[in-house]
Symmetry: C2
Subunit: 300 residues, 2 copies
């Protein structure tokens, strides 16, 4: 019944770092990525080619990418690009894989990338066509729910995926952007997506806002997710909401998969050390549990 060997994709250096207001020196970013890879993670989203005005934290994207590609030639490194311009910059920096984002809900797309879904679709089609030598992932934001429009119907998700599939998308990440998905919904979405698009890779990207990060990620894995995106330490959240959480913590997920006998090739101990190092170096909002655990017998 269980699926073995799901790919754990680390997105903390993008999704975690983008929420940190103070600039993290590039050397420290690289050291975090180094430790993540040393723990056995194979694929890391290392940065975002977004406007430095919008997210000053990511102003070192091109330089960091060049250094990382040089130092870690075996790793699968990729970056998020919000639009055509970002794709150009990422390709120029030498990346072989990028992911771009489009929201399922009109209002979130407007808020996130400042334009209509149709415009994002056109941009995605253009990116898919022009950068056909790159692997291009499509992140569907608010795939399960939107802060403005509420729960998103599965039919709407499948319709958007279909339009993207028609223009060449073969890798999809269903993103629970604000952490409102529930396990049954994740199961249903993955099952339907695999049924409708058997040729596509479909993964999930889950935020832990309502304490369902692990449960949703685990439900997705059992339902056959090809990959899951998580963030070291569960670093993330939102600068405007003290309690909003980041992605499911990578080390917490790896602990679970180890316990369940699902191999990932990742050393939990080394990953936990990396998470503790991150926690000691970067002040932020961490939802991971293992970075905080002491030793205690406990009463009952």
């Amino acid at each position: 019944m269980e699926k073995r060997g799901v790919q754990v994709v680390e997105v903390g250096p993008r999704d975690g770092f983008q929420n940190i207001p103070d600039y993290i020196p590039m050397e420290l970013k690289l050291e975090i990525i180094r430790r993540i890879l040393a723990a056995g993670v194979r694929k890391v989203q290392i940065t975002s080619f977004v406007s430095p005005k919008a997210v000053p934290q990511m102003r070192d994207a091109a330089e960091l990418t060049r250094v990382a590609l040089e130092e870690f030639p075996q790793a699968e490194l990729f970056a998020l690009v919000p639009n055509w311009k970002g794709a150009e910059r990422a390709a120029q920096a030498g990346l072989l894989e990028i992911s771009t984002v489009i929201s399922l809900s009109e209002s979130h797309n407007k808020a996130n990338v400042g334009r209509m879904v149709e415009e994002s679709l056109a941009d995605a089609a253009r990116i898919l066509e022009h950068f056909s030598h790159l692997k291009i992932g499509l992140d569907i934001a608010t795939a399960f729910g939107c802060p403005f429009e509420g729960e998103m119907p599965l039919e709407k998700l499948l319709a958007l995926m279909d339009r993207l599939y028609q223009v060449g998308a073969r890798t999809f990440t269903l993103c629970d952007t604000i952490g409102v998905a529930h396990p049954q919904q994740v199961r249903e979405a993955l099952t339907a997506a695999h049924r409708e698009f058997p040729q596509a890779e479909v993964g999930i990207h889950i935020h832990d806002t309502r304490n369902l990060g692990i449960a949703n990620t685990y439900a997705g894995i059992l339902a056959g997710a090809d990959f899951v995106q998580t963030a070291l330490g569960g670093l993330g959240g939102c600068p405007f909401a003290p309690g909003a959480s980041g992605n499911t913590a990578t080390e917490d997920l790896v602990y679970l998969l180890d316990q369940e006998g699902m191999s990932t090739g990742i050393s939990f101990e080394r990953l936990l050390e990396a998470a503790k190092f991150l926690h000691s170096q970067v002040q932020g909002n961490y939802s991971g549990h293992h970075i905080r655990i002491g030793n205690c017998g406990g009463p009952n």
Copy 2:
């Protein structure tokens, strides 16, 4: 496939409060219980009849029980009793239900109640026989793992349950005392327990130490748990380990069950208000997420 209508049992006034070093005034304890019941929770573990020297927080157990029974005659109120003496005191205070605890691991039993498992078994048998007019739950501590002895084999759990069943136990709570269970283990334990003891009620009591509180509780519910024990706000942990977590947060679980369409009869909103009230009144270690959530659109 999903089971509807699992009973959510609130244990925070016992398991959460016992970890708070400063005495919580009895009136405040009663106010918390009042708000929990007002939200629609039917069953609450209100206190523990333990030695006031061991746990000074619980020194008001008898008086609190008397007042609560008087004020909330419709509620199912029960208390934890670690031994014969506690059972006597609880019965005297007028409770119709108690739960007593025995560890699956010898070393944890020694650490928790200061005696061998055989002695606890004899005590449990005596309690079951003498207080046959009461409903008596058997909490199996360290049912999934022990801080001293590591993972506990399922056969050992079933053997202990069998000995307790022989002396009349019909309600079991499988307790993940230190939060080391994983979902598959919870499923297997519940499936085996129901198969071996079809006449017994079997529930679970899960700690969230490793961020698997909700995932384990949910796995248990899907595997047919008759009840789950959770604590308002996820209050708990261990005074000696800053990161150790309490039980799964009741309101986080109720949110999940609402999303999944599993009715509990509990108002999530009212429960969340109760949790926020608790959080504002009692300083402690809270693992619940909803008590901290603000409003945020979030980027991806």
